[in-house]
């Protein structure tokens, strides 16, 4: 598959150089400084995005809960309660920052940041649009898997440092669960890498382009990938600790699990991290299986810089938010599994299934020379 125009994804040095050329007035600045400033700006954009996503997401979560539970949900703050998250956020920031007397002060403070950073760092390699990606790393998927492990460290530290037994139980559960479910998550995303032939997320998305509309998505590439998508969703639901797998913070058993002793904005960081991770896994599913930013029957690369990016961003976010909604829908519907059942599910069913699936995909690619079913059907009809 031919790469689309090579200039669409940014290289900070070249952008910095271009800016210096465009504005001779700041010519005296070194290129690295300009590049650094741009990086900071991009990071700020990502943080703002995740904050807004968290705000809107929490509101949607509550509204959706209202719909499912035949309630109304927040509707007093702003029209239809749409700035509820602002009130919640400001209130959390202004709350007293309690530290239990017996807690480990350093680790107690550190834990929420780790959880937050771990989930937000994944944003770096999310291909938002045809030309919008913070850094198109060659090891993109590998990077996401690596940094998202920081979350489990944050959870473990938080539970341990709180010096609360419920927190510790929650933290142990969380660590075991997240580390275990990394494996099925990774193993069910590897088939995508095999098909695309690259670890770079942008490359994976690009490999799903073409003019068959949605049939170029990896989801329909072959039966194994179709299956693999749902395994990924299940495992990702567990990795992000959403109901029915929200064991680290299960409200009815462990009070609030590892977050029990956290108040104010430190709790807010955990909350943000949770939503950030939810977004990252859903975005990865979109990029890996649902064609990423590809607009069906349209080549976003040919639309020009502005419209191409805008439309593809919209498409990408729509797909991702659909997955987020599915996750929330599950969250309000299903009861919770028990910890041993969860582990059994992971090690006895999901892990072997994903291995089998990986084998299937490899054989498929070997036998059919990397062609998917839609491509073969298309070849059949000329």
């Amino acid at each position: 598959m031919e790469p689309v125009a090579a200039t669409v994804y940014p290289n900070y040095d070249s952008v910095g150089r271009a800016i210096l050329e465009a504005f001779p007035i700041i010519d005296f600045l070194p290129v690295w400084l300009v590049a650094l400033v741009i990086m900071v700006v991009v990071a700020a954009c990502a943080i703002v995005f995740i904050l807004v996503f968290e705000g809107v997401g929490s509101l949607v979560l509550r509204k959706l809960a209202g719909d499912i539970q035949s309630r109304v949900g927040p509707n007093r703050v702003g029209p239809y309660g749409c700035i509820q998250f602002l009130a919640d956020g400001v209130k959390l920031i202004l709350k007293e920052d309690l530290k239990p007397a017996a807690c480990d002060r350093v680790l107690f403070r550190l834990a929420p940041y780790l959880a937050f950073v771990g989930s937000c760092a994944g944003l770096v390699v999310i291909p938002f649009a045809v030309g919008m990606i913070a850094a198109d790393l060659d090891i993109g998927i590998y990077y996401v898997m690596a940094v998202s492990s920081l979350v489990s460290i944050g959870i473990l530290l938080g539970g341990w440092a709180s010096n609360n037994k419920w927190s510790l139980v929650g933290a142990m559960r969380g660590a075991a669960q997240i580390v275990s479910f990394e494996i099925p998550v990774a193993m069910s995303i590897i088939p995508v890498i095999l098909v695309a032939g690259s670890l770079s997320t942008q490359e994976i998305v690009r490999s799903q382009g073409g003019l068959f509309g949605i049939f170029n998505w990896n989801l329909f590439h072959n039966p194994f990938l179709f299956f693999s998508f749902f395994v990924y969703l299940t495992a990702a639901q567990a990795e992000t600790c959403q109901t029915p797998f929200d064991l680290p913070e299960c409200e009815s058993e462990l009070v609030q699990g590892f977050m029990t002793e956290y108040s104010g904005i430190r709790f807010g960081y955990f909350f943000l991290g949770e939503f950030g991770e939810l977004f990252v896994v859903c975005a990865l599913a979109t990029a890996g299986y649902l064609g990423g930013w590809h607009i069906p029957f349209l080549d976003a690369g040919n639309l020009g810089w502005f419209w191409g990016n805008l439309l593809s961003l919209g498409v990408f976010l729509t797909k991702t938010f659909t997955l987020v909604l599915v996750s929330m829908w599950l969250r309000w519907t299903l009861p919770r599994t028990r910890v041993d059942q969860l582990m059994r599910m992971c090690w006895k069913y999901l892990v072997p299934l994903t291995f089998f699936n990986l084998l299937g995909v490899s054989l498929w690619l070997l036998i059919f020379d990397g062609k998917g079913i839609p491509a073969m059907i298309a070849a059949l009809f000329g």
């Binding site: 949900g73 703050v77 029990t260």
Partner: protein, 199 residues
């Protein structure tokens, strides 16, 4: 509702009081804030502080997370208040299981002497600013157990330092709870966080 012992605060909720419609509250408070600022010859900075006060209070009043804390009969009304028909979530009030993340303690149900220490501890565990609504006859005065029971605390204000709003009833209907929450919101809008404390 009868006046309790002398140490109680005068601010009490009464469901028969005329309460301004919710839409009017911010305007009134805004006006009052500006009047306060005008009365104080401190310069322009104070206006910003007044508006910051307003904003902070607005945020706090619209995000009153309550502790999922129920001891007795009123607890069922707490559940029903959070459910389909009444839905406290409309006012931004969601329940939290841990006191660390709660803003508001609704003492729903009888407090016994065995329980009193735990209530105090739960209150101490909540971060500032925290508010207490005494729900139901039992937590206001001991209710039906006032005279004959040997093990019921005669009012939650004997064991907690402050109670912001009292909602009478045995148990109060969820409408009365909502009234109590709204009264608490009015109360929050009147608090001063910055600036004019000394004046």
């Amino acid at each position: 509702m009868s006046q309790g012992p002398a140490k109680r605060k005068p601010i009490k909720s009464n469901i028969f009081d005329v309460v301004p419609a919710p839409a009017e509250i911010p305007q009134n408070v805004l006006q009052k804030n500006f009047e306060r600022v005008r009365a104080c010859k401190g310069g322009e900075g104070i206006i910003e502080v007044g508006i910051a006060d307003l904003f902070i209070n607005w945020c706090r009043k619209n995000s009153l997370w309550y502790l999922y804390y129920a001891t007795a009969c009123c607890g069922i009304e707490l559940m029903q208040g959070g459910a389909s028909k009444y839905d406290f979530d409309r006012f931004g009030a969601v329940f939290r299981a841990t006191p660390r993340q709660a803003d508001m303690l609704m003492t729903a149900g009888t407090i016994t002497h065995k329980m009193a220490e735990r209530v105090q501890r739960i209150y101490a565990q909540m971060p500032e600013p925290k508010y207490v609504i005494a729900i139901g006859a039992c937590t206001i005065t001991g209710g039906p157990f006032y005279k004959d029971s040997y093990s019921v605390v005669k009012g939650v204000d004997l064991i907690l330092p402050k109670v912001d709003v009292y909602v009478p009833g045995c148990p109060p209907r969820p409408e009365a709870w909502i009234e109590g929450i709204r009264n608490l919101q009015n109360l929050i809008m009147k608090t001063k966080n910055y600036g004019l404390k000394k004046a």
